[in-house]
C-alpha cells in the first residue's frame, strides 16, 4: 500500500526542472499565449459579476464547514448514494483505489474502459494499473487524449495539453489515429477526436469518471465539462465508476448554486460551461445500471490534520491560480513534477506526500499573491507556501547553503555591534565586484543570486551612521 502523487516522488527539484523548461522557447510561447487568453476571458466574465466577492466568501465558508464536519458529510453521502442504488468504496491510498477499480472492471470481463478527465486518476496512476491488468483506458477529454496519444504528461489541471500548439497536436493525431490527412485548424482537430472516439463511446461497457462535486444531502454526483465526452461516459456505458477525493463532498444540492457560478468563470472564462451532468445512484432505463463511487484519501487526511494548511483541500480545481502565476507562466506545468502544477500544486503535492518529497515546490513562488486574488474559494496560497517552507526548514530539509546563510544572518542580526562590524566588512569586501553602483557578479555559490538580478551596492554611509553624525552635529 502506498500514497503517491503520480511520479512526483521521483521528480527532479523544481529549480532544476524549471531551468530546462524555461530554455524551451516553444513551450514558453505556447503557455504564455494560452494563459494570456484565458486570463483575459476570466477577467471579463468575473468583472460582470457584482456579487463575485460574496460568492467567493460563501464558497470558502462552505468548504471550511464541510471539512470541519467531513466525517458526517461523507457518511451522509454514502448513505444517500447507496439508497439510490450506488455502491460506495473507500480507498486509503492510491494502490487500494487502483485495486478496487481494476477489480470492478475485471468483474465485467471488460478489456477496455472510457475515461472522462479526472486529475485524481492521474494522481493515483490509474492508467498504469489498468494497463498492467491488460485493460486499455481511452482518455476522452480532448486535451487528455492529446496527452495520452502524445505519450506526454499533463501540464495544467484544466487544460492538460496547454503546452502544445495546433501543429504539434496535428502531428500527434496523424501519427496515432491512422488518418490520411488532417488540417491544422482547431476545428479539424476537434472533428478528428470526435471521429476517433465516437464508436468507443457507443461500444465500451465501462466508464471511469472523476467528480467535481459529491452532494451529501442527495447522494448525487456532478461532473462539469464542455465537450460532451463527460455526458457520454456517465450516461452511455453499462457500468460507471467515479473516483472521488474525500474533499469533493459538499453538504447540499443548493450549494451547487455557488460553485456552478464560480467554477466555470474561473476555469475557462465562461459564464457557464456547456455541460453539467448530475446523477443520483442508478436510474432505471437510463444510463449505467451499475454505479460505483470510490472515495479516496491518499494523503488528504494528513492535509486535513494541519490546521494552517487545511484549506488546501478547499480547491475546486479551476486552474485560475496557474494562469495567474508569474512562475507557472514562465515554466509551464511540467516543472512541478506532479499532476498538480502551479501554486495549488506547489502546496498540495508536498502535503499529499507527507512532506517527504517535492520539498522544493513551496519555493516555486515569488509570494506575489496573484493566486490568492483569483482563487474562487479564497485559499490563502501564499500563507500556506510560507507555512510549508517553515516545515521544510524544521524537518531539516533546507539546502545546506541556506542553512549556513540563515545561521550566519541570525548571529549577525542578533546584536547591533555585530551588524555594524559585518557592514564595515561588507563594504570593503564588495569593492572588487561593484560597477556603476551595482553588483552584477558575485563569486562562488552566491552567483546563483546575481545570475538573474543585480544587487545594489552597499552605500558608503549607512542610515545609522548618518543619524549618529546628524545628532553629533546638533540637528536635533
Amino acid at each position: 500500500m502506498s500514497t503517491f502523487v503520480g511520479d512526483a516522488a521521483k521528480a527532479p527539484k523544481f529549480q532544476t526542472a524549471a531551468k530546462k523548461l524555461v530554455a524551451d522557447t516553444q513551450v514558453r510561447h505556447n503557455v504564455k499565449r494560452a494563459t494570456d487568453l484565458i486570463r483575459k476571458k476570466r477577467a471579463k466574465v468575473v468583472g460582470e459579476m457584482a456579487d463575485w466577492e460574496e460568492l467567493r466568501e460563501a464558497g470558502h465558508h462552505i468548504k471550511e464547514h464541510t471539512l470541519r464536519h467531513l466525517d458526517f458529510y461523507l457518511e451522509q453521502f454514502e448513505t444517500n448514494c447507496t439508497a439510490a442504488g450506488g455502491t460506495v468504496h473507500w480507498a486509503r491510498d492510491a494502490d487500494e483505489a487502483n485495486g478496487i477499480i481494476v477489480g470492478l472492471v475485471k468483474a465485467q470481463q471488460a478489456k477496455e474502459v472510457i475515461k472522462v478527465k479526472t486529475m485524481t486518476s492521474d494522481e493515483i496512476k490509474l492508467n498504469v494499473a489498468l494497463e498492467a491488468a491488460g485493460i486499455t483506458p481511452y482518455e476522452t477529454d480532448l486535451a487528455d487524449l492529446i496527452v495520452q496519444l502524445g505519450e506526454d504528461k499533463p501540464s495544467h489541471i484544466v487544460v492538460p495539453a496547454l503546452h502544445r500548439n495546433r501543429m504539434e497536436i496535428r502531428r500527434i493525431f496523424l501519427d496515432k489515429m491512422n488518418l490520411g490527412e488532417l488540417g491544422d485548424q482547431p476545428e479539424d482537430l476537434a472533428a478528428a477526436a470526435r471521429g476517433y472516439l465516437r464508436e468507443k463511446f457507443l461500444r465500451v461497457p465501462v466508464a471511469i469518471s472523476g467528480a467535481n462535486f459529491a452532494i451529501a444531502e442527495t447522494g448525487s454526483v456532478c461532473v462539469v465539462e464542455s465537450e460532451g465526452n463527460g455526458r457520454m461516459c456517465v450516461s452511455l456505458p453499462k457500468v460507471l465508476i467515479s473516483l472521488v477525493g474525500i474533499e469533493k463532498v459538499i453538504p447540499t444540492f443548493q450549494d451547487l448554486e455557488i460553485f456552478l457560478q464560480t467554477l466555470p468563470r474561473s476555469a475557462t472564462g465562461e459564464r457557464m460551461n456547456p455541460y453539467n451532468s448530475i446523477w443520483t445512484g442508478v436510474t432505471l432505463e437510463d444510463g449505467p445500471q451499475e454505479f460505483h463511487v470510490v472515495l479516496l484519501d491518499n494523503g488528504r487526511t494528513k492535509v486535513l490534520a494541519d490546521r494552517e494548511a487545511r484549506e488546501t483541500l478547499d480547491c475546486i480545481r479551476c486552474g485560475a491560480c496557474l494562469n495567474a502565476c508569474p512562475v507557472y507562466r514562465q515554466t509551464g506545468g511540467h516543472a512541478y513534477g506532479s499532476v498538480y502544477g502551479g501554486p495549488i500544486g506547489a502546496i498540495l503535492t508536498p502535503q499529499l506526500q507527507s512532506m517527504e518529497h517535492s520539498q522544493t515546490l513551496p519555493y516555486a513562488s515569488s509570494l506575489c499573491g496573484a493566486c490568492y486574488e483569483v482563487c474562487p474559494v479564497k485559499i490563502n496560497i501564499p500563507e500556506i507556501l510560507v507555512h510549508l517552507r517553515n516545515k521544510v526548514v524544521e524537518q531539516g530539509d533546507a539546502p545546506w547553503e541556506e542553512k549556513i546563510a540563515m545561521k550566519a544572518a541570525a548571529y549577525v542580526l542578533d546584536s547591533p555591534e555585530r551588524l555594524e562590524r559585518a557592514r564595515n566588512l561588507g563594504r570593503i569586501a564588495q569593492k572588487p565586484f561593484v560597477k556603476n553602483g551595482v553588483i552584477s557578479h558575485l563569486p562562488g555559490g552566491l552567483d546563483a543570486w546575481t545570475a538573474v538580478r543585480d544587487l545594489p551596492a552597499m552605500p558608503s554611509e549607512s542610515f545609522r551612521e548618518w543619524w549618529v553624525k546628524r545628532e553629533r552635529e546638533g540637528h536635533v
Binding site: H89, M232, M272, P274
Partner: protein
C-alpha cells in the same frame, strides 16, 4: 473492505475532532450574501437568455404556443432535416406534418444514425444561457439528447429564471432524476484556448422560445 472506511473516518476524526451536533446550526449560519433572486422584468429576462444562447452559437426561433409545430417545421427545413427522434411524452401538437418522428426506444447505434432530436426542457437560466433537462418522459433518457448531432429544444417563457441560484433551487425538486444542463452546443478550448464549437455532444443547438 470496511476497515478502509473505518480507518479513513478515524483519520478524519483525529484530524478535526469529529463532527459535532452544532453542525446544523453552523451550516444555517453560513454567509450567503450573493444575489439569489433576480430583478429583471420578464421581457428583459428573455432578452438576456437569447443573448447568452446566441453568444454560444445557438439559433433561436420565436413562437406563440399555437405555433410550435410551425417553428419545428421551419427549423427542420433550415437545417435540411427530414425527421427527428422524440421522447415518449412529447406533445403530439408540436409535430408538423411532412416530417418523420420516432419515439425513443432505439439502440445507441440507431440513435447515432438519426438526424437529430426534439425535446422540451425543465427550466432555463437566463444569466448563463443554460437549458436544464430533467431526463424523464418529456426530455427523454440521456442518450437521446446526447448522441445525435442536432438538438432542437422547446423552452417556454414561463420556464425561464434569471439567476443560477433560482435555477438550482428548482432543480433540487427533481435531484433524484438525472439532470443535464446545457449552455450552447458542445465546445472545447483545449487547443490553444480557442473555443471550437462541437466536439462530442450535438454540434448544433436550436431553441424554440415560446412566449
Amino acid at each position: 473492505m470496511n476497515s478502509a472506511r473505518q480507518e479513513i473516518l478515524e483519520r478524519i476524526r483525529d484530524a478535526t475532532g469529529g463532527s459535532t451536533p452544532s453542525r446544523e446550526a453552523e451550516y444555517a449560519a453560513l454567509p450567503r450574501n450573493y444575489v439569489c433572486v433576480g430583478s429583471l422584468e420578464t421581457n428583459e429576462k428573455l432578452e438576456l437568455l437569447v443573448d447568452r444562447l446566441e453568444d454560444y452559437g445557438a439559433t433561436i426561433f420565436y413562437a406563440k404556443e399555437s405555433e410550435v409545430s410551425a417553428r419545428v417545421a421551419e427549423a427542420l427545413r433550415a437545417r435540411n432535416k427530414s425527421g427527428l427522434l422524440i421522447p415518449r411524452d412529447l406533445p403530439r401538437a408540436w409535430l408538423p406534418d411532412g416530417f418523420s418522428f420516432f419515439r425513443e426506444g432505439a439502440t445507441y447505434q440507431e440513435v447515432n444514425a438519426s438526424e437529430g432530436v426534439l425535446t422540451d426542457c425543465a427550466l432555463a437560466i437566463a444569466m448563463t444561457g443554460s437549458i436544464v433537462l430533467r431526463h424523464s418522459a418529456g426530455e427523454a433518457r440521456r442518450a437521446l439528447s446526447l448522441i445525435p448531432d442536432y438538438h432542437l429544444c422547446v423552452v417556454f417563457a414561463g420556464q425561464v429564471v434569471e439567476t443560477v441560484p433560482e435555477g438550482v433551487r428548482q432543480m433540487r425538486a427533481f435531484a433524484d432524476i438525472p439532470i443535464t444542463t446545457i449552455a450552447g452546443p458542445s465546445a472545447t478550448a483545449d487547443i490553444e484556448m480557442i473555443r471550437v464549437k462541437g466536439v462530442h455532444g450535438p454540434r448544433t443547438l436550436d431553441v424554440i422560445l415560446v412566449t
